[in-house]
Amino acid sequence: MHIIESGNVAAASGVKLAKVQVIAAYPITPQTPLTEKLSEFVDSGEMDAQYIPVESEHSALAVCIAASSAGTRAFTATSANGLLYMHEQLQWAAGARLPIVMCVVNRGIGAPWTVWNDHQDSISQRDTGWIQLYCCDHQQIIDTVLQAFYLAETVSVPVMVCYDGYILSHTYMPFDIPEQTDVDRFLPPFSPAYALDPKQPANLNTVTLPDVRPDVRGDVAPGYMEIRHNLHMDMRAAITVAADIDRKFEDIFGRGGNPFIEPYRCDDADFVAICLGSLSYHLRDVVDILREEGIPVGVMGLRLYRPFPNQAVRNALSSRKAVIVFEKALSYGNQGALYGDIKSALYTADNRPIVHNYILGLGGREIKTHHLEKALRESCTAPDAIGDTPVWIGLKM
């Protein structure tokens, strides 16, 4: 059934369909309407879940860690400084291998205070051991929430579902709400390998010595480094799992086919723009304009940011003349984080393209089609004239 609603309602609808059992969240703009909707679902009995109000984001994730450790499907959501306040618990959730799903409604971070969109919040958490998926529209938000639980529970790694604050969260557009029976066919109930049980008390994630050692049964138990190596290897394996899940989703719902990168007019493109989130859809309009002028350009939206799909990126981008990375975040003092990742993936390519980096839209600075058009045209017509440092779009001073 198609409805016209906000991106936050799309996310909440996905959480409801996923039959989440525990929700703990602290409201923060622009995430607030998502948690309000979930609390309505729980209050009205439409959702059979525990909604646990908390006094902070740190506690929100701590509650989810406890709920997930006890073997329930847990969900939280936040934005910006709320996500930063979770930072310690983020790493704990990943290290403890808990399949929590969290929506990050992307917002710029303070100081100075802002409530508007950019990607600095989730990008700044890229090395916490969470999987990161990015959405371009409401359909992808609801679909990705469902896929995220499957992915998280298959590889025992928590997942962030990231979507643009305001631009998607507060904008209304049509999207299809899947049938519960189809969702139940797609997403099996969470069956944890181990769950905390008061009848069988246990210590979890206690001090772990640098080296391996025999455990109480005399078996060799992994040390800290083995446990962390497992996390890394399972993150890498998540790339293949994500592709499998995408296929299963497409079989049932008819949507999918691009689990890592969503291309638009790229088949014969010498020049390819690439970015995260709704911006890649906006760039489709720009690609159409430049195509009418005969410029062979296309755009790709990167859906999976962590783990980074190096092979897919290399296959998609090597042999192009130029790759143009548009980013709403940066690694201060260096360059855009995605720009660095893309260049790294292309280092071993046989034919390395020129790579450009544009920084734009920070703190909700409006992104105009003609700004994108000017930047992309310059990159396509004089690729050698642009250097290795980020070029800022829309700076007024």
């Binding site: 198609h2 016209i4 622009p30 409530v115 508007w116 305001y166 631009i167 998607l168 507060h170 904008t171 209304y172 557009m173 049509p174 709704s278 859809y281 906006h282 489709r284 309009d285 159409d288 304009i289 009418e292 909700g364 409006e366 992104i367 105009k368 089609t369």
Partner: protein, 188 residues
Amino acid sequence: MNQKTIEIRWHGRGGQGAITAAKIIANAAFLSGYGGVVMAPTFGTERRGAPVLTSLKISKQKIYDLSPITEPDMVVVLDHLIVKEVNVISGLKPGGLIVINSPKRPEDFRFEDFRVATADVTHLAVEAGLPPGVVNTGIIGAFAKASGLIGMDILIPAILAEFKGKRPRRNAKAAQITFENTLMGGLP
């Protein structure tokens, strides 16, 4: 590129229900075969009583540009006093349409190059049995008449659905009698 996107900017006051009105139009447009519908409130400055904006884009194809409207085809004004506070015709395309809730006649407004439609929604809504100040359903009737974009046969059920449990029939009636009492001006 969506060359045929119809862009409608809504001017109201915080709390007046411009977003709800635009959402009802969005739903009705989708049901009328416009597969691409995007309604985006302008964010961050909403305060009760202060002038607010909402962007509504309607197209047969999917809409990819979610940025606020800067060159609308139509402008809808829920309170004629806003005209004195905000440049409501900013960026309006030549020949564009302005729909205003006002007791005045279209020719009383002097907008060069634009078509003006007026309806006294504030009074008509009271006539329909709504409390004073509820104008967001009445303005839908004025918009339907002036734009010719979506039929009342689709808008009335959309209003009834949106206002389920909140005086649905009176809200629908406000839209209907406003539709019948909207004054259309020509190009000057």
